[in-house]
Symmetry: none
Subunit: 221 residues, 4 copies
């Protein structure tokens, strides 16, 4: 709640609440995202979402008609904008295959893995059983296109002889996995364990990139 205790200075007037129609939905979505990611859908109370957003429970219902719609809004509003920025960077690039591939992984981490989209990934993996439609949507709009983009990058490298031939589609799946796993872990097991036992994301990412490029090295050259 925003300052409902009577202010000490009688002349000044602390309003019991403010009117902030424009910013409320975003604040609510942010609060909901945090809690859904941390606790899961069922274990998150709307009361907590509201109070974390600094409003009362009733206010939440002015913007979202029920808990489920809040959930889908959280997913919808977070996915597309972030994803768009990531893809732009890759598609515009004219770097060489190896550099492009490295750029892909580093950009994914920067624009997805290290952002709140990582929370969305954890959330959807956790809730797929309860929200199959959302999971399917996420697969079709995020996972699949991202995998295809990666496959494209690899395929280009093979075609120009920089990379050795291999099962491109499968490799794309295999190589997305560590990034996604690390993103999910950061909202899950990693956040439960002492820092010194965790693998720092940067070292993880560097190693991943190095291993991918090593695995692609063309022995003919």
């Amino acid at each position: 709640m925003t300052a409902s205790a009577p202010s000490a200075q009688p002349g000044l007037h602390t309003p019991r609440w403010e009117r902030r129609k424009e910013s409320r939905p975003a604040e609510l979505l942010a609060a909901a995202l945090d809690l859904f990611v941390e606790r899961g859908y069922a274990a998150t109370r709307l009361d907590d979402v509201a109070s974390r957003a600094g409003v009362s429970k009733g206010t939440l219902y002015l913007y979202f008609s029920n808990k489920e719609e809040l959930f889908t809004a959280v997913v919808r509003e977070n996915i597309l904008p972030l994803l768009a920025r990531f893809r732009e960077g890759i598609e515009r690039s004219d770097a060489e295959p190896a550099a492009l591939l490295e750029g892909f992984f580093r950009a994914w981490w920067a624009h997805v893995g290290a952002t709140r989209l990582s929370g969305i990934a954890k959330l959807i993996v956790s809730e797929a059983g309860n929200f199959p439609d959302v999971a399917r949507f996420f697969h079709e709009e995020v996972i699949h296109p991202t995998g295809e983009l990666l496959a494209l990058v690899i395929r280009r490298g093979i075609e120009c002889g920089d990379f050795r031939p291999l099962d491109v589609e499968a490799a794309a799946h295999v190589w997305m996995a560590p990034l996604v796993m690390k993103a999910i872990s950061s909202h899950s097991i990693d956040s439960c364990c002492p820092l010194h036992e965790q693998m720092p994301p940067q070292r993880f990412l560097d190693t991943h990139v190095e291993l991918v490029l090593a695995a692609l090295r063309n022995p003919r050259r």
Copy 2:
């Protein structure tokens, strides 16, 4: 409420000799595992667990004092036996580094990824926020040791010159990730998507093994 106070969680480290009598319905644990994995802890009703196990709700309480203890029992009872079998196979082997490494991944998939332990992994990733102790337990007893085992195998290959030198610890993390991710996906997004859009586990595994070995190839030979 789901217990989030770490100290409140009943003993995960209960030694195995404290197992209750053999007659205790393992069906309850199996039913609970299925439902917890599919729906998550909070969204699973004990009524459903009981009826899936073919008993009444009251009976459940004869064996588990509450929902939380059922949860920890599900985790405890599933992890250690399966894990043990997996490690035995690796530790006893006297194969060459490359074969041993390949064997490691294939054995992990056979004894973990393709068994109900994969469900446990999904469950713990999902519930880490609500059960940090369980997550920590899982990290310490499963993830960390497995990673160390993998690191050991890699390190041996490097020492004898079969593999090129690299950041062994980081590589172990990176290379566990695809297996774990695939295991988790099989209980999550994969189960929501049409079969033809999924990557078959075998092809995924084969590719992973091939890519790992390629990345390890020692250019000096």
Copy 3:
């Protein structure tokens, strides 16, 4: 809660000279009447009342201090004016008993049964349990006087020998009932049933009048 404590109900007997300024939206009262009659007091949302009247919810509170006062105002404002017009017609008449009696029923239907007062009747019958004071007010100001007026008309006919003697007071009750029932039905069951299954009010009224006069026929003449 709906007020059931008799003393809590704001003044129904507020004299008419206390009416607020003419500009007060009669639309609010009209909207409230419609909705209260159709749905009942508790099931009617002030939001709906306001939007039906074409104003915002807040505006409603400029004219009525709360829901209950709106309810009593709806009753108060509708009853007395309409009733007055009906009584005038009867009291002034110098027709013969039979014609006067027929006139009574037809005027009642025209000035009450076929007007929005019929809705008030339905509303009060429905809400008597929650607003006993309002029900009592209605009984004292409307039902009882109307019954006495009818009794007077009958009694006059008996005295001059046009009608046969009978239990006048009871007959007045019995003969008011069909009119009131029909009025109530028109806001209740009738409005739910296909038109062809309903008894048209005019035929109902004609028959009622005919039966009353037949029952009063003096066999001595």
Copy 4:
């Protein structure tokens, strides 16, 4: 609640609750009927229904899946049995038309107007706007057949010359109205007014019968 205060005699054991699967539904329906009739559907809290039936709120949901189903069950369970008994009496009779007609009214009052079906009538009239299906059901199963039965009785009397000809269908409507109105009033306005201002049902019924028979008298005889 049934005796949850610890009993004074330590040796005796007062159970916190009893198992009464068989009788619960009827008790709940009876409590619900009372409250729905008195307050209406929306203003009735399930908590009150439950506690009037001597159980907790949760118990109610063991027998009725929600408030609406409780409402429809109240209507359904009360209507048909009572109605059946009333019709039997009329259909079997071989009395003369006048006696039969008188019997009809007196039986209706005894089996409907003076029983809890009178409450149902008030309830349905009040809630027709919110439950049009229930209102329609009531019209088709109760009001219409009853009206037809009455019409039949009148028609028989006309055919044998005991009654004078008239608009039978309309008369049936008109003559049912006082009975229904009195039944409804007994749960509404009558229960709010001092006894001495009410018309006693018996006097009302006697007068009604007398007036009906007078109106039917055949002048040709």
